[in-house]
Structures are given as C-alpha cells and as structure tokens.
C-alpha cells in the first residue's frame, strides 16, 4: 500500500498539497464509511444493553453490557434457524444443479433461441410472487406442502434460478475460446468439456452465485410468513414475532436482528471479492 509515494524532485509545496489531498480523501472516505455504517453499530451496541438502558433519552452510549438479550434470542431461535439453514442450503444446491447446465446451454454451445430462453428466465423474476400468494396457499394446502420445508425449498429455488442462470452464463462466457477448442481437438465430449475445462475456470463464479442465492434465501420473509406455521417457520419470522405486543423490546430485537444477520455478514465480509464479482456479473477480470 503506497498511499504516500515518494516522488523524486517534487517541490515541497506541491508535495504538501498532494499529501494533504490524499489525507483529506482518506478522512472523507472514513467519515462517509462510518456514517453509513452507524445504524449497524447502533444495532450491535443496543443488543448488549439491558432493556432499561435501551429506552432512554438521551440514548445511552455507555452502560453495563449484558448477554441477557442474546441468551433470550438463543433460547428461542432453535427451530427457526434450523429451518432457515435447511431451506437456504438445499435450495442453493438445487439452484446450482439446475443452473449450471442451463447456463451452459445458453453460452458455450448455445441453443438456437438462447435469447428467448434467457429472457424467459428473467421475465419470471419480473412477475411479482406477491400476486399469487393466495392461490399459492391453496395449491400448497392441496398438495400437502403447507408448512413444509420442501415448499420453501421449491419456491426459493425458483426465486433464485433466473439470477443464477444469468450469472453463471456470464462467467461461462469468460472461458477462453482457445481452451474450448483445445479440448474439442482433444476429442473431449460434452461432459469432459464441462468438468475438465469449464468448471475449474467458472468455480469462483459459482461461489459468488451461491453466495447471492444464500443471501436472498436466508433473508426471505414474504413467502415464509404466508405459507409456514411452525414446521417450517424461518428466522425472519422469528424476528417479526419478536416485537412483543405488550412489553419491553428494543434491546431484545436488536439482539435478534444482530444474530440473524451475522451469518450473512460474515460470509459477505470474507467473500467480498466474490461478492463484487458476482454482482458485476464477472465483468471485472
């Protein structure tokens, strides 16, 4: 990191201006970053407060921290987090299993009407699922899938599939033509082409796609709220019911919010680069 680069023969006045410009830039960036991050900081801080310290005026910045709120959250969240985890992981795996061949068929050796295919997938994302929620309930009831984790898995897969197809396709487009031609000359069939040439190149892209799918499935509330009760209730539902009708709540809900967000935050922080690649569709090399 060479933020303060030395330049030979630089006149002092110019150097001072340049360095203070750099310093000013850093200060501005830090101020913006911290200000933008402030609500997260406040959420985590409030999670450690006893309720009496969470509802004060002026708001308290110093207090004696307690783990009581977290204990409350952990004592109640068991089934919810299990359901969330299962629905998220299984649906993401299912998405990958379906999306990789589909992306392949839309990129490396495209079908004739690949544009229509791609547009069809994207178009399903544009039709709001909220419109069908009543009939979905009835369908789920009649197929005995109401309040079943499989219902969520099925719906989350359909929810993430279009995005995954689009993303993986764009990563596959990056596979160098030379490698593909070399494999073809080598006599490789389709399967070998996928497994030996394409997958290794695309696997970072698969990671970032999986990440995005995990984020959206983990955070999903609308479908879970309308279609599950107790056997498949997910973490977002736990949160929304943690604002009790009558009683104290600000610190408790901060703790619940923190706990619910931590998995995705950690994944996102560690895999930042992957996230960036995914979100920009692999446009940066």
């Amino acid at each position: 990191m060479t933020a303060v680069a030395m330049r030979e023969n630089e006149p002092t006045a110019l150097r001072v201006r340049r360095l203070s410009g750099q310093a000013g830039w850093a200060v501005l960036a830090w101020v913006v970053g911290i200000a933008f991050f402030l609500p997260v900081l406040w959420m985590v801080l409030t999670a450690f407060k006893p309720e009496s310290a969470a509802q004060t005026w002026p708001p308290k910045f110093t207090f004696s921290p307690t783990l009581a709120q977290f204990r409350l959250v952990f004592s109640g969240w068991g089934p919810y987090v299990a359901h969330s985890a299962i629905a998220t992981v299984v649906s993401t795996l299912l998405v990958l299993v379906l999306a990789v061949p589909a992306a392949y068929a839309l990129s490396v050796h495209p079908v004739g009407r690949w544009r229509d295919g791609l547009f069809f997938f994207i178009s399903t994302k544009m039709l709001p699922i909220v419109a069908a929620i009543g009939p979905l309930y009835v369908i789920a009831l009649k197929t005995h899938l109401l309040d079943s984790i499989w219902l969520l898995i099925i719906l989350y897969t359909a929810m993430n599939l279009p995005l995954a197809v689009w993303m993986i396709r764009s990563f596959m487009l990056e596979v160098p033509k030379e490698m593909l031609e070399a494999a073809e000359l080598d006599g490789a069939g389709r399967i070998r082409e996928i497994t030996e040439v394409i997958m290794p190149v695309v696997s970072p892209g698969l990671v970032s796609t999986a990440l995005i799918c995990v984020i959206f499935a983990w955070n999903e509330l609308f479908l879970a709220l309308n279609l599950t009760v107790t056997n498949a209730a997910t973490l977002p539902m736990f949160l929304i019911s943690s604002v009790p009708q009558e009683g104290l709540y600000l610190a408790h809900l901060s703790a619940a919010a923190t706990v619910a967000s931590v998995p995705v935050i950690i994944i996102g922080w560690i895999a930042q680069r992957s996230l960036v690649r995914g979100l920009s569709m692999g446009a940066i090399k």
Binding site: V32, S123, V138, I139, N219, A257, Q272, L279, K285
Partner: protein
C-alpha cells in the same frame, strides 16, 4: 476490455451433415437447458394460471361459503378502487426514488473507494455491510432504535440542528421506508459501479491527464460513458428487487399512517391476510402482471444493450 462484439452464435451446422444428426444435435444442445426450464415453468406458471382462475371467482376466507364464479366483478373492483391505484403510484414513487438516490450515492461511494488510501478495504467493508443485514432486521432496527420519537438515535443526532422529537414513522412514513431501501441497496450499486471504475483502461485516463483535462471533465467525458452499461445494469437489477419490497413496509409502518406507505406488495398482502379476499387479490395480481409486462417491454430495449455488453 469492453468491446461490444456482435452476437457469438454457433455457426450453422446443417449444411454438410444429414438431417437426422443435426436434429439430434439440436436436442443435445437443448437437453442441459431443459431441467431448469421445465422446473421454472412448472413452479412459476402453474401458480399464475391458478391465480388467473381465482380472479374470476368470489372466494373469501372469512366465510364458510366455497368459491363461486363471479365473472369480471373482481376486475371491476380493481379498476375502480382508489386504494389499488394509490398503492401502484406509491410503488412507482418508492422504486424510482430509491433506485435513483441509491445509484447516485453508489457512484459517489465508488469514486471514493476507487482511490487508494489508508484502510480502504475496511471502509469498503463498512459500506457494503448494510446490504448484508437481513432486510426485516434492518427495518426493525431503523423503526425502533434509530427512528423512535422518544428513544431513537436519529433524533438525538439531529438535535444540534434544531430537530426536536420528530415522529418519523408518523409524519414521514413513506420517506422513512425509502431511506431504509436506499440504505440497503446503495452498497449494491456501489459495487457494480466500482467494478466499472476498476475496469476502466488506465491508459485513456493517463492520456486525458497528460492532455491537461481536469478531474471533473475527465469524469464527465470519459468515465461516465464507460460506466453507462454498469449503471444501467444496477438500475435494472435494483428496480426488479426494489419494486417488490415488502419487509420494510411490514416491519416499519404496516402501510400507514392511513395508507401513505402502502405499496403494491403490501396492498396485496393486506387483501389476502386482512380482507381475506382471495378472488380480489388474484385479480389485482393479474392486473399487476399485465402492467409489469408492459413496463418490461420498454425495459427490453435496455436489456438488449446489456445483452450485447454481456458478450464482450
């Protein structure tokens, strides 16, 4: 690297080979696509067809009467109900404002992060975190610890500016929801634009500097045009998700006060869970789908450009 190429379709295979082989070849090409395609068709189109069917029924969950045919009366209600129109308008307003502001902030933040400085990766981490917070969690935290009129942090921070105990969720309900939407989606825009900035060829920038162009001019003439496909991508994707925002409305304002923050998803939610009007909700849904298709057709033009960009 952003050379806009023409479509890279495979060369036609039918000239030399016999007819049967090429047909088999065609199906070989299609086969990998079929599982995902069939799956999507079943899981998305069947509910839509059922919704269509219910839109012609009178079906309520607060009476024991079974569903019965009622023709177009649900549609008549949809078109005459000011509540539906209001929620539609609000959806559009919320989406447009949130997307535009998030993109502007995204460009600014991306520019900020594009330069090297001490702790740049930390600042980038701080900036992307709001996108990673569970939306319903973010909404609850903003509604309570941030915006509460009596205990909230925002009122405390704004006190030196003469702001006293504002009840944000009462007097600025829609604005509060939009703020949370912007807060959560700016990182998304930032990352996309940042990718664009970092893919800018350094030599053209150098050349501009050598030519004596100032920072603003360079940005306006060189960078912005380069960023255009990235910005369009961000706007497109962001809109698709933001128009369906539900968590923030449910957790912060429940569509109120009055109906001032009821958007289309929340309106539909209330039709199903409060009025228990399944037929009416189905009709509203069908109308929404038709409207979306119309809007999407216009978006197709933007799509085409993004498609082309994708093949570079």
């Amino acid at each position: 690297m952003a050379v806009i190429d023409s479509v890279a379709a495979p060369p036609p295979t039918t000239e030399v080979r016999p007819h049967q082989v090429s047909r088999r070849e065609r199906w070989q090409l299609r086969l990998p696509l079929l599982p995902a395609l069939i799956y999507t068709i079943i899981v998305t189109q069947i509910p839509f067809l059922v919704t269509l069917w219910y839109s012609f029924q009178s079906y309520f969950w607060n009476t024991p009467a079974p569903a019965h045919f009622t023709g177009l009366s649900n549609y008549k209600t949809v078109f005459t109900d000011p509540a539906f129109r209001g929620s539609l308008v609000r959806s559009v307003v919320m989406t447009v404002v949130a997307v535009v502001v998030a993109m502007i902030l995204g460009v600014l933040f991306a520019v900020l992060l594009d330069r090297k400085f001490i702790g740049r990766s930390v600042v980038r981490t701080l900036i992307i975190t709001p996108f990673l917070i569970m939306p319903v969690a973010a909404a609850l935290v903003w509604a309570g610890p941030m915006l509460d009129p009596n205990f909230g942090l925002l009122n405390y921070l704004l006190q030196p500016f003469g702001v006293h105990h504002v009840a944000w969720l009462s007097t600025h309900a829609l604005g509060s929801v939009i703020v949370v939407m912007i807060w959560q989606w700016t990182p998304f825009m930032t990352l996309i634009v940042l990718a664009g900035l970092q893919s800018q060829p350094a030599d053209t920038l150098e050349a501009a500097k050598v030519d004596g162009a100032g920072a603003f001019a360079t940005f306006r003439e060189l960078t912005l045009p380069h960023l255009r496909p990235y910005i369009e991508l961000g706007i497109l994707l962001g809109s698709v998700y933001l128009v369906n925002v539900f968590d923030a409305v449910k957790a912060m304002t429940q569509g109120g006060p009055g109906t001032s923050s009821t958007n289309l998803p929340y309106y539909l939610y209330q039709q199903v869970n409060n009025a228990f009007d399944i037929g009416g909700a189905a009709a509203t849904g069908v109308v929404t789908v038709i409207l979306t298709i119309i809007v999407a057709t216009f978006a197709l033009r933007m799509f085409a450009r993004v498609f082309q960009f994708e093949e570079a």
